[in-house]
Symmetry: C2
Subunit: 403 residues, 2 copies
């Protein structure tokens, strides 16, 4: 009697949710320090002190002002602060009226897809990818077209992207720094992507939007450039969230930036406002709009993740694991020690290592290790990773030769 | 090239937004104390001190805990606190697992409609009504079926509701205390409504859900009972928001309560979780989830609104205005002094009185006065209301007799 699709979505088991629940139960059972939970993307780096200072100081405002409705698209002063920060950092001329504040990345993406797409449109995602992309695309009655990355370095496969574009392609979602791989797309690859998209726009005489999902923009390691995509491809819509950059995942605060270079940018921005209204996403939480205004240029603590990355990659290298060297975000994409990644994750679990098999991200044979955890978790997990490797070596040595 | 419906929604003029902007500009022009802006529902009563105390004290928690992700449906402890409060107050046995925390009333309603409805379903609304109801219903490709209240007292017209129910009716939205009328539906009327809905459920052998939109539940004046609808009609889904009760409209925090008495309540709750996921409404803002947990039983300051009501109704009575005596919320539904409510609002505006014509609420000939304003605004507006009435008396006296 209820909507069957929604019932199925709400009752479907979620792998990450199940691992999370298992982790909590297992920690209660054998002790938190004996379970190595790498399954989540919840930052372990605390929000900067500036956030607490801003909250406490804001509570001195009159409550009607502090907690009152803001305009649907957000406070003008917060949008202005974000636009000014974007302009300063990336050399564009972002305007407050191009920014729409949202309740985090999920809202940003769902609003953008709703604003742009009609039923039957195609949206390209680059696999491996955050699994909710597909769900949001299909909820709009659009087709999620998965294009695999190159399988050696998990970078963009431009010929494959070009081949996937049809006259129904409305958008492509790019996520760099990437969840789950930890890769960052270099400038040259993005320039080539822009060239492909521009040529296909001309061929089909229709806009193809690039939705740049950027919650990990600030988490990039020394020497790695994260190019600003609106500078490379005009029809870009940026979906940003402060969940990772300021360690505020629970507060759900982010924004959509419709680049001024987007064709008919005013129409696209109006559609974003309309989609926000239709979905009920108006007036992002007011206190955190003001926190962001005050903290818009507070740097992210990338050093903590860099140290975790060093510990984890050095440790796993020594043990003989293969992985993609992370350039950003806080995920290590490690090769499963057998073709079936789910079976690999199950064996890891028996060693108290919780990680996520690659299948849910649209790829076979790998696993995601989220290293937004304490240093101790990484150091203490090494014997378990060693045992896991030893187990596979034993298994291999038992295989008859030539099989 | 964007979604045309979303573009139209985002670029359509909104009467309330336009009055609001006009009010700001006019105040800057002639002085804030000379413009009597009754157009909004932004509470002037400050959030209780307990809210500020909770925020400040919560900032002492470790930031990773305070600002981290919560489960999609909200913190178990917050859901438990809300369920316990509902159980204590209304004598039901609400469970934490029946509560889904949301980013405010708009989210609650959109999630509920998405969870329940399939395209082509009909949803009944009682006119006059909050105009976004229709927009959300139509965004789900459902039909918004408007049933007028009785035109003498703006109470439920049960025969009209009964006549409007078809085999396609999936839900009816009830809003008591009511925006824009300020009425509260008495127990007997709700019991009769429940009887009608139950009989129609049997007739069509299908569930008809009652969505009870309750942001004004706590704002009811002395002696007025606001019956708890899940006690009267099993298939009830409560959409609650703390926007008005705790004066937190900008913080977007509320919940959906799927009554345990709903048929197949587990399926309906699962569909709510699925709709939250599909729409991107997961994990309501974490800090305010914790604020609500601590403030769940903090009373609303109804006295301030009661005093405004007294001043406004006594003043307008003396001047000869007709209105519906408000029993709850903070709106006065006043009869326009000419049949065309838009023309009446325009004349009021010329006297610096900003109010909202009834047309946007689905009814002709009335206007909404939001009295969630300062006492001074009400007192100082009386000469302007007197002048407005005098203007209409002059106009009437100029009409030729018998016309």
């Amino acid at each position: 009697m209820v909507n069957q699709k929604m019932y199925l979505l709400g009752s479907a088991p979620s792998e990450i949710r199940e691992i999370f629940s298992y982790g909590l139960a297992r920690k209660a059972q054998i002790g938190a320090d004996r379970v190595f939970d790498f399954s989540l993307g919840n930052p372990n780096v605390p929000a900067p002190d500036a956030v607490r200072d801003a909250i406490v100081s804001l509570t001195e405002l009159p409550p009607q002002q502090l907690h009152g409705y803001t305009p649907a698209q957000g406070l003008p002063s917060t949008r202005q602060a974000i636009a000014a920060s974007i302009s300063r950092r990336f050399g564009v001329e972002a305007k407050a009226d191009s920014i729409y504040l949202t309740v985090g990345a999920a809202a940003s993406l769902d609003i953008s897809l709703t604003a742009l797409c009609d039923p039957g449109d195609e949206v390209i995602v680059i696999a491996p990818y955050f699994p909710e992309y597909k769900m949001w695309i299909e909820a709009r009655e659009c087709t999620c077209v998965e294009v695999l990355t190159r399988q050696d370095d998990f970078q963009l496969d431009l010929p494959a992207i070009e081949a996937a574009i049809t006259h129904r392609t409305k958008a492509i979602i790019i996520n760099s720094p990437n969840n789950p791989v930890g890769s960052v797309y270099p400038r040259e690859a993005l320039q080539l992507l822009a060239r492909v998209l521009e040529s296909k726009q001309r061929e089909y005489d229709a806009a193809i939007y690039l939705i740049s999902d950027e919650p990990y923009r600030e988490i990039a390691y020394a020497g790695i450039e994260v190019p600003y995509i609106p500078c490379l491809y005009p029809n870009t819509i940026v979906c940003y969230s402060y969940s990772k950059s300021l360690s505020l995942p629970g507060e759900r605060i982010g924004y959509i930036y419709v680049s001024e270079r987007v064709q008919d940018a005013h129409r696209v921005y109006a559609a974003v406002c309309g989609a926000g209204r239709a979905l009920g996403f108006v007036c992002a939480p007011a206190l955190f709009q003001r926190v962001i205004e005050r903290c818009v240029d507070v740097p992210s603590d990338v050093e903590a993740y860099a140290e975790n990355r060093r510990l984890l990659t050095e440790g796993l290298s020594r043990l003989g694991y293969e992985y993609v060297e992370p350039q950003g975000a806080f995920y290590l994409w490690v090769k499963a020690l057998e073709p079936d990644a789910e079976a690999f994750a199950a064996r890891a679990k028996a060693h108290e290592i919780l990680l996520v098999a690659s299948d849910g991200f649209g790829t076979k044979g790998w696993a995601r290790i989220g290293y937004c955890v304490s240093r101790d978790t990484i150091v203490d997990s090494m014997p378990a990773f060693a045992d896991l490797m030893a187990e596979y070596r034993r298994l291999d040595s038992q295989q008859p030769a030539g099989v």
